[in-house]
């Protein structure tokens, strides 16, 4: 809803990075990695989806974690608008999405989830916003797509769906709607 610029895409110049089946495998693998690392303290874990685009992925991973482990896993959504570093630097005012964390993060192992990691600035603001809910024991980052060599801050995910090299005018579009799920690379019309 907020920082989506209206890009014109060259639709013939699109490349599928992950198709439906590959996506399913990747999300299952990411969930398994979380279980592998946290199975003994799964009740001390919290899955936090980053607004707006980490929401769907975090929901799917959370559902899978609960299904596979049989435990209830804490879940919340975080919007970091008020902690961003570009206030008064954008043309439009930044409109926040909903934050919904109904428990304290004090002492929990937080797994922060977003779809695409690009500059790392959203993750930076999310880390600041998280602390408002208590001091977590640890914070790990999970992303579906890691756009390598585009980082502007020293941020590195622990769980990565797929790492890709993308040039500046290419855009990664993640769609997680059922049978139409895919990750594609679009080339912005010059």
């Amino acid at each position: 809803m907020r920082h989506d610029k209206k890009f014109q895409y060259n639709m013939s110049d699109r490349k599928i990075i992950l198709n439906v089946d590959q996506l399913k495998l990747t999300i299952t693998r990411l969930s398994s990695e979380i279980i592998e690392n946290h199975i003994e303290l799964i009740d001390k874990c919290a899955i936090i989806g980053m607004q707006p685009r980490g929401v769907q992925l975090s929901q799917q991973i959370h559902t899978m974690l609960e299904y596979e482990t049989g435990y209830s896993v804490k879940y919340g959504l975080l919007d970091s608008t008020f902690f961003r570093d570009d206030f008064r630097r954008r043309e439009d005012v930044i409109i926040p999405n909903k934050t919904n964390i109904e428990f304290s993060l004090e002492g929990l192992n937080v797994i922060l989830i977003d779809d695409v990691l690009f500059t790392g600035r959203s993750v930076r603001s999310s880390l600041d916003a998280l602390v408002s809910f208590g001091r977590p024991n640890s914070v790990e980052l999970l992303v579906l797509i890691d756009r390598r060599f585009s980082r502007e801050l020293p941020i590195q995910p622990k769980y990565i769906g797929k790492s890709i090299d993308v040039i500046e005018n290419e855009h990664v579009v993640v769609n997680l709607d059922g049978n139409n799920s895919s990750v594609i690379l679009l080339n912005e019309k010059s």
Binding site: T81, F82, F87, D92, V93, I95, P96, T99, G134
Partner: protein, 309 residues
Amino acid sequence: MKHLSVNHLLGIKYLNKDDINLIFHLANSFKEVLNRPIKKVPTLRDLTVANLFFESSTRTRISFELAQKRLGADVVNFSAGTSSLSKGESLIDTANNILAMKVDVIVLRHSNPGAAEFLSNHVKSVIVNAGDGSHEHPTQALLDAFSIREKLGSIKNKKVLIIGDVKHSRVALSNIFCLQKLGAKVRVCGPSTLIPKYLNKLDVEVSHNLKESLEWCDVANILRIQLERQKNNFFPSNREYAMLFGVNQELLSSLSQDILLLHPGPINRGVEVTSDVVDSHNSIVLNQVENGVAIRMAILYLLAAKIKR
């Protein structure tokens, strides 16, 4: 979604429906922030706000100051009693002197209608009107409408009654503008001496029958009798006012439906409303106060977003 259509908050008169809805959307987010263990965000940390209060205030001043501090802004406070105003300094000079100390936003309360607009034309700063005489009190109207919306789901087609001293009330005028822009029907009720004549131009119904009006409405906003402005004897006595226009439990119990009660404060218990009513489940007075901080954070955020770096 772009920006607010205005650069200052001078009155509800200048806002459109989209502006009001944008303010409400942000207020919802800030309300969530205010319920976090750490209720502070750093968004306005590079801005300084001056609260210039030339008229006394408790609620509004504290609410604004909290809103500013929770947004991370630096805050300076000024109140008329302790200032150079008593040495004869003009409003523009006072404001410009404060601005020379690099202040970005001025929140102004003043007893003269139009003071905020006047200042906005003469000094280079964002101006927020925190009440100008009997003219407007926009943040109060916004928090009132926000509180009604929160309880009833929507303002559209709701019937809102404003009771009491409409003539001296900035809350009344701002409320009328705000509620009408959101699609509510507005009626005022009070002694004829306290109902200004211009109201018929604002598409507002006027009644002098409290019981019938309470039966008509979904929401009643009870105004404070401004005891300090009653030197001209607009009504014979507080006791008579309480008997004819005071809201009491007996009156509420006789109604065919439950109504929501608001009061902008400070309350004269036993005059415009009885104590048991203020403390009853119908009253959302404390919700109004809580929402006030969120509404003011929303306004400061949206106006600050327009300040060029």
